[in-house]
């Protein structure tokens, strides 16, 4: 038992902090700090700077740009990035399809896609969920039928985040409708979003944002070389991918920063002549969320310090579950601090309301998603009850 980071890890943390706060353009970090939406160009500029420094895909195999870091180093890298308001490397590229291609793709696929994926020369989007296949993903119905050297894809995907920016999609399709187990008839295909027969329709969310889309496929022809791994093994690759998706999903650095900002906002708002931050109930509420966050951060450290053998620590489901709840608690706190100012979301030129109060409610509403995506919190409870408690 030892509390302090080793001198090497302290130096590593300092190196990360210095890089993120000095090398990533201030305008991008300001946009993140103000919780405005990033443009496609912001994501690309930021990730290319990280990639040039070897900081975009440290968790990939070394030959494709990985750094062979320990789980604890990766944790520090991610936390420092979030604390410094640096956009994380695009998850669809770096956490999802990249590791799948590195593990299961052909040599040609690796050479063609991995460098471009790390450098975001290709922007990927995810074609997993369907209108009737959410948490029950294996029920997906989009089909791919072999026709000569091509697969012909028909069906519909949904919740495709930032699909409007995407160059390529990685997609789960049903290739054996007669398979005994529905999981066994699924394959993974990749193809360009501008393939004939692909249509994208944005879905407006409750905060007014358009970050997710429906994607329709009508006789989309995909050359057979774009099958990932083996036919009908797509479910295994999807499980591998989703396991990676949950890594870092707790976003402790994000919540920590938002809570620090909330303390500042609570100083700006005055109640009966005193800063709201001095109200005992408000201060206790901030202290409670902060203490929960400390507990979560310590749990994350326990998990990363003990998953060196590659197998996740049993407590890792706690990270997704509680991490999402605390992100939501922090966004809710900011709405409550804003009080009546929280309704001013769409004010612009003529309004005196500070920007933080205007974005508070859209962010709070948007963040209802975090307990749903990446395996809903109910899925996490099922995992905990089943695999940990044996229920």
């Amino acid at each position: 038992m030892r509390l302090q980071l080793s001198p090497e890890l302290s130096a590593f943390r300092e190196e990360m902090r210095t890089f993120f706060t000095t090398e990533v353009p201030q305008d991008i970090r300001d946009t993140v700090a103000a919780r405005r939406h990033l443009s496609r160009d912001d994501y690309v500029r930021s990730q290319r700077i990280l990639n040039a420094a070897g900081l975009a895909v440290p968790h990939w195999p070394v030959e494709w740009g990985g750094r062979d870091w320990t789980p604890l180093q990766r944790h520090i890298w991610r936390e420092e990035m979030q604390l410094a308001c640096v956009p994380e490397p695009l998850a669809f590229n770096t956490s999802m399809i990249g590791p799948v291609l590195a593990a299961f793709g052909s040599q040609e696929q690796k050479e063609r896609f991995l460098p471009a994926t790390a450098n975001i020369d290709i922007w990927w989007c995810q074609g997993f969920s369907e209108p009737d296949a959410g948490s029950d993903l294996a029920s997906l119905r989009t089909t791919a039928v072999r026709d000569g050297d091509d697969w012909v894809v028909n069906g519909q995907k949904t919740w495709t985040t930032l699909g409007q920016y995407a160059d390529w999609i990685f997609c789960l399709v049903r290739t054996d409708p007669l398979a005994e187990k529905k999981q066994r008839g699924i394959s993974m295909l990749v193809f360009p979003m501008d393939s004939p027969g692909v249509t994208l329709r944005p879905i407006e969310l409750i905060d007014g944002s358009r970050e997710v889309n429906e994607v329709f496929f009508e006789d989309v022809r995909v050359p057979s070389e774009f099958l990932v791994g083996e036919e009908n093994r797509g479910w295994d690759y999807a499980k591998f991918l989703l396991g990676n998706e949950r890594v870092g999903i707790a976003r402790i650095g994000f919540t920590k920063r938002l809570l620090a900002q909330a303390k500042g906002y609570a100083q700006e708002v005055t109640v009966a002549g005193r800063p709201l931050a001095e109200d005992p109930r408000m201060a206790a509420r901030i202290a409670e969320v902060e203490n929960e966050l400390v507990a979560l951060e310590l749990t994350a450290l326990r998990v990363v310090a003990h998953s060196a053998d590659g197998r996740p620590h049993p407590a890792s489901s706690v990270l997704k579950l509680r991490g999402s709840e605390l992100q939501q608690a922090a966004t809710e706190l900011v709405v409550d601090i804003a009080g009546p100012l929280s309704v001013t979301s769409f004010a612009d030129g003529g309004s005196e309301v500070p920007e933080w109060a205007r974005v508070a409610t859209p962010e709070y509403l948007n963040y209802r998603k975090v307990s749903i995506y990446g395996g809903s919190n109910e899925v996490q409870r099922t995992i905990i009850a089943g695999t940990i408690l044996g229920l």
Binding site: M1, L3, R257, K263, A277, A284, A287, E288, L301, T382
Partner: protein, 388 residues
Amino acid sequence: MDFTFDSEQNDLREAVRGLLERSYGDGEQRRKVAASDPGFDEETWARMAEMGLLGLPFAEEHGGMGAGPIEVAVVAEEIGRVLAPEPFVEAVVLAGGLVAAVGTDEQKSEVLAGIAEGTTLAAFAHAEPGTRWSPSASAVTATPSPNDRDGDGWRLTGTKEPVPNGARADVLVVSAVVDGGTALFLVRGDAEGLTRTGYRTSDGGRAAHVRFDGTPAEVLGADAGDRTADVERAQALARIAYAAEAIGVMDTALRTTAEYLKTRRQFGVTLSRFQALTFRAADMYVSLELARSTALWASMVADAGGDVVAAADRARLQTSRAGRHIGKEAIQLHGGIGVTAEYTVGHHTSRLTAIDHLLGDGDWAADRLARTVTRYETVDPLGAPYTG
């Protein structure tokens, strides 16, 4: 940074577990022990002394083992796991801890050696009716009594209650009002003018109403100066040990509950088939693991010489919330059997409730943390002030 126990700490855990499971492997033995005074098993206590547990945190020169807060946490967690009624945290960590922190060399040699050998049961007489969780005294007053003890004696007057193990204790560490603050005193169990009325506590332990009527007392430490900060610190270390004990209690409560859900049948199936129940068990696991992380961390802060008062408040808040959640759900998921004295799980809830109120509850800790929460931006649990 390393959250794993070393091999000596694991050996210690195994040894303590072996001893306590022999004594309290089934709930029946604990019920028997709790039914009669002193509310714990003198024989188990003597074995704990033989094993060195009762002198664990004290310096070797005073008869102790010279171990640290992490070893204390290991023992406390094992005590919690089987609900052993032996007052390790109360007598060794808190009362003994005060003697170790404040006492003169002579006092340490005598009292700590006695505690470590199991021949002296120490109790901290601090709580007073009508106040809660203050580090200072108000209801017992100390006055100099130059005719006692070579001209430097004191006399105490007033009441303390509840004093854990106050009736059985061989020596009381008493906080009392002096000019300029709260000083600490030693009072022998056979002192004149000392009236002790013991009773059973809600969790099956023992406490006492203790009245001092001009009771002769010896100053703990070199002088009768203000010891409020020492009390605050000793209580913080006891809160950290209680956090570990609570983890042990919660761990067993959850495992017992999960086992019950797997075996109890209703409507023709085991209870584990009802998602309404299994999801709640999953939430109990979440509470437990978050509290465990904080409790482990707080003992590491104490070990590293960091800010134990702040770390103890964090551990207190987290284990209080988790203890209430797990304690209440453990009973509810069992149904009626959980409320019976015959079954174990209700006693876990009872102990968690006692731990939650002896040295400050969750709201109290949250309020203390709230007073400083806007003076800093973020908490770095691996950095200052926690790393010393």
